[in-house]
């Protein structure tokens, strides 16, 4: 299974049986509303707090994924997930509702692919038959945790990003119909001494580059192997920086083959500054938008590289640089499996 230092190749080809994607009103106004399974028209979701609303999003995404597959909830062995909030409580509470054994993860916005990679690894090794892997984020709960109260009129610079309100969940199974997970590369922490929490794309870009380079090298393939390389939430600045960096390192990915979830989810006239971010960003765009297009046959092989900025408000106040990480998972359509 392990090749090189940090890459897994899944010989037993775990399958994404079904996905569930849930979004809020801002996402409903975005570019890909049709790729969501459920959209809410209020960010409170009739809950008492934003954190509870986020928990509800996660629960709904899991329920939808199970409902769309032809397996029962009881057949799911594990739930692997995480989010941004202190001690990942929304995910843990959602896991309580689900009632399945649970792994809680934290890799900020990279949690989406971290959980998918782990799910695939466990299934590949025969550790489970079905695993739910999902992440959530909520714009208002992230705002108040990392920045200011939501109603505070602080001006954000053009490098800032907008946290997605939503949850994305993938039900990974040992066998069945659906796109298959072929490999995963687990990233290392990359710290370039960047300290501006309002420019996460710029901080995360080298992490994405490093993981992509390692993935291609260890699998011994060219970037042309993939039809699309999808980054998590680098947004405008991070995408440009990482693409230039890749070109500088001799990996000539053409511009149109290098897309970013943070630039896919919203329309340009939505005031999101540099683009979107949050664990749910890469999750809903990948599980919704890109898997739909993959199933429709638009492309066959994609590499999803979710990036995460692993800082906390405390570490920022203590003047620590932002440590960043990126995890890559390759997903291929079942078609070229034969």
């Amino acid at each position: 299974m392990l090749i090189g230092h940090q890459t897994w190749v899944f010989d037993n080809k775990p399958v994404i049986l079904a996905t569930g994607t849930v979004g809020g009103p801002f996402e409903a106004n975005g570019m890909i509303p049709n790729d969501f399974d459920l959209l809410h028209d209020n960010i409170w979701l009739k809950q008492a707090s934003f954190e509870k609303a986020q928990q509800a999003l996660m629960e709904e995404a899991c329920q939808i994924a199970i409902k769309k597959s032809n397996i029962e909830k009881e057949q799911v062995q594990f739930f692997i997930g995480g989010d941004l909030i202190n001690q990942i409580t929304p995910t843990s509470f959602a896991a309580n509702t689900l009632g399945t054994p649970y792994f809680g993860l934290f890799s900020a916005c990279a949690t989406s692919m971290e959980s998918l990679a782990l799910s695939a690894a466990i299934i590949n090794a025969g550790g489970a038959n079905h695993i739910l892997s999902g992440v959530s984020s909520h714009n208002a709960s992230a705002e108040r945790q990392f920045r200011y109260p939501t109603e505070y009129g602080g001006q954000k610079p053009p490098t800032a990003q907008w946290t997605v309100t939503g949850a994305g969940c993938a039900l990974v199974g040992k066998e069945g119909e659906g796109p298959v997970i072929t490999s995963a590369t687990i990233g290392k922490i990359v710290d370039m001494g960047m300290t501006d929490p309002f420019n996460m794309g710029g901080a995360m870009a080298p992490a994405a580059v490093e993981t992509i380079e390692a993935h291609l090298k260890e699998r011994n393939i060219d970037h042309t192997y993939y039809d699309l390389i999808i980054t998590g939430d680098l947004a405008q600045i991070g995408r440009e920086v990482s693409l230039d960096l890749l070109h500088k390192h001799g990996i000539d990915i053409p511009e149109e083959k290098y897309v970013d979830c943070g630039l896919t989810i919203y329309r340009e006239d939505q005031a999101v500054l540099a683009g979107a971010s949050g664990p749910a960003c890469s999750a809903v765009v990948t599980y919704g938008h890109f898997l739909n297009r993959l199933k429709q046959g638009e492309f066959d092989r994609i590499l999803v590289v979710a990036t995460g900025a692993l800082h906390s408000p405390l570490s920022i106040y203590q003047k620590d640089p932002i440590p960043c990480i990126a995890h890559a998972v390759s997903i291929e359509s079942g078609r070229d499996r034969k």
Binding site: I43, F50, A140, T150, E151, G154, Q155, P157
Partner: protein, 116 residues
Amino acid sequence: MIFFWAFVIGGLICVIGQIMFDVFKLSPAHTLTTLVVAGAILDGLGLYEPLIDFAGAGATVPITSFGNSLVHGAMAEAEKHGIIGVITGMFEVTSSGISAAIIFGVIGALIFKAKG
């Protein structure tokens, strides 16, 4: 005329704040704190009062006037009781801004819900 100068002087103080935001990359809390301290020092030098006389609300509405009014309260007591007055005066100082913000803050929390 007072309306014109209130606009101009008030606007210029805000521009100073904006420069602190954008050029020195200070957070709002850092910026406002610096401005308050600057207001206190300016009043200590006797420069803030003429500005209020000249620009009215242009000088009293920006947060700099906070420092000014706090120094004023302390100095009023100091004039009566000397050096001890500074200490006792500090505790007597009230700022309408702070109390109004607290009162409307709690009322706001009672009636409003965050819109996100």
